[in-house]
């Protein structure tokens, strides 16, 4: 029944999906945190930049961003992100696109977390003379991060599903392999079930685990 699977690197494709997810998650967490810091900073220009970035990037389809990294950045502007072969170049471009897009959502999740920190906490921090970076680093962000584990988990799950968009620029992840297998094998239903099951295996445990963590670490008020 599963004879048609021979010759396809199913696990390898899902491993690429996982790699895309992990690299993009780390990158967008860093960039998203910086953006969130900008959005609440006392400098109006930084606030404006953060707001503009989030509003623009959230309204562009991820597909447009990813296809642009290949057609625009690589093929037109010859930006290859320090890689030599096409596989690595496309992988890095896809990660860049995913970070650009996901960071906007991380930023919004964090900002809503910052808004849940009671004003009294911040006022107390300022009263003992902490500066804005100190208030953010020592008081606000630690509490904000604890209250946004749930929303960030949702961003991570959405990111896992979004990595399939990398198929549009030929990154050999799960969706691209599924397309190839559908074309070559007469087993549409079985192939679809296998790939659906693969993604359920990736997203459901993440959701359950991080849902549990978010309850554990949530700040009780």
């Amino acid at each position: 029944m599963f004879d048609f699977l021979t010759g396809y690197d199913l696990l390898g494709a899902f491993w690429v999906t996982v790699q895309l997810t992990v690299y993009s998650a780390i990158g967008s967490l860093v960039w998203g945190t910086l953006l969130a810091a900008m959005r609440v900073s006392p400098v109006p220009l930084m606030r404006g930049f953060g707001t503009a970035y989030v509003n623009i990037v959230r309204n562009i389809p991820l597909t447009v961003i990813i296809v642009f990294t290949s057609l625009g950045l690589f093929q037109t502007l010859s930006i290859s992100l320090g890689a030599k072969d096409f596989t690595t170049i496309n992988f890095r471009l896809a990660v860049l696109g995913l970070i650009t897009y996901t960071a906007a959502f991380v930023c919004e999740a964090l900002r809503s977390g910052i808004n849940t920190v009671p004003a009294g906490q911040v006022e107390a921090a300022r009263a003992i003379g902490l500066s804005f970076p100190q208030v953010l680093r020592l008081i606000v962000l630690p509490q904000a991060f604890r209250s946004v584990v749930g929303p960030l988990a949702n961003v991570l799950i959405a990111l896992t599903k979004n990595t399939t968009v990398a198929a549009t620029i030929g990154v050999a992840e799960a969706a691209l392999l599924m397309r190839e297998m559908i074309e070559n094998e007469a087993q549409l239903i079985l192939i679809s079930v296998i790939f659906a099951f693969g993604f359920i295996c990736l997203t459901l445990p993440t959701g359950l685990l991080l849902g549990w963590v978010s309850k554990k670490v949530a700040v009780r008020r």
């Binding site: 625009g72 799950i157 959405a158």
Partner: protein
């Protein structure tokens, strides 16, 4: 959402103001450096030449042949997907609130299944299924595939939105319906559902943005001639103006989606203020959470209107 930036820092005194000016200047410098670098790379590849950009301003055919037909297909696919997914989602959402365990279980399983799978996988499946089991012509098949994929995914997301909308209503509504002798079905169709439609309107509009964005997948992988797919023929016809074409397409997407987002936010504010309704509303920013598998739609997630939660 109420932003509260002022609590994070003091009203700037002379020193803080000097420091803010310094940061502004440094940030401006960094931005200028970035813009200069982008402009130089563009100029190196001749992407800034006016001949690559002026078709969008001087030649109406760029719009009538490429962009507007693409936009039309994007809007058609999104509208169809929304129109079909909404009733399905309502059925699933009401099913999840059923008193019968097996209805609840079945609806819940369907919702969890389709929320856990990327919409692209659903589109690829739909495309191949239409090719194999039906005789829909290859020209219209991409539209069918895109809409089917979007419907399967969004029906399950909208099911959660509907459920959240019904849960957001004050418990008194159900009690009052019971008190005047309405049956369960009547309570749902005459009392809860009509009011929840208002409560979830902002969330529906904001989900429309997600649908519009996902149609671009069909353009990139299924030969669906929507807005993104117009980039290739445009850059082929107007002297490899890839960057210009992408910029215009992105601007059109941002304009459309920004209008929808603003409309959703306005609706939400209006509903919160409304005196005639219960004031219950599904938060626009709750939709992203409702779109991922797992349990989110507790009343605490949904009701952010500051009223005392009279459900527990």
């Amino acid at each position: 959402m109420k932003s509260r930036p002022s609590a994070l820092y003091d009203v700037p005194g002379p020193r803080a103001r000097r420091r803010n000016v310094l940061y502004t200047v440094l940030f401006l410098l960094a931005l200028a450096l970035l813009i200069w670098w982008v402009a130089r790379s563009l100029a190196d590849k001749n992407q800034l030449e006016w001949s690559k950009w002026d078709p969008f301003f001087t030649d109406a055919r760029t719009w009538t042949t490429y962009i507007l037909p693409g936009l039309k297909n994007t809007v058609i696919a999104a509208a169809l997907a929304m129109a079909i997914a909404l009733p399905l989602g309502a059925l699933l959402g009401i099913g999840r609130l059923s008193d019968h365990a097996w209805v609840r279980g079945a609806a819940g399983a369907v919702v969890e299944f389709f929320r856990a799978i990327p919409v692209l996988i659903l589109m690829l499946f739909a495309n191949a299924a239409y090719a194999e089991f039906t005789d829909i012509s290859p020209e219209t098949r991409p539209l069918y595939a895109v809409v089917t994929g979007l419907v399967l995914y969004n029906a399950s997301v909208l099911a959660e939105v509907v459920r959240a909308g019904i849960l957001a209503l004050p418990r008194g509504q159900t009690d009052a319906a019971k008190a005047i002798g309405m049956r369960k079905g009547q309570t749902m169709t005459h009392v809860l559902l009509p009011q929840s439609v208002t409560a979830m309107l902002p969330a529906l509009v904001s989900q429309l943005v997600v649908i519009v964005k996902d149609t671009a997948l069909g353009g990139a992988l299924l030969n669906f001639s929507e807005l993104l797919a117009s980039v290739r023929p445009m850059s082929a016809n107007y002297g490899a103006n890839t960057i210009a074409s992408f910029t215009v397409v992105a601007v059109v997407f941002v304009a459309l989606n920004f209008a929808l987002t603003t409309f959703a936010a306005w609706l939400e504010r209006r509903l919160r203020r409304a005196k005639k309704s219960t004031g219950a509303v599904v938060r626009v920013d709750a939709v992203e959470d409702l779109a991922t598998p797992g349990e989110h739609a507790g009343p605490a997630d949904v009701r952010a209107d500051g009223r005392a939660d009279d459900r527990n």
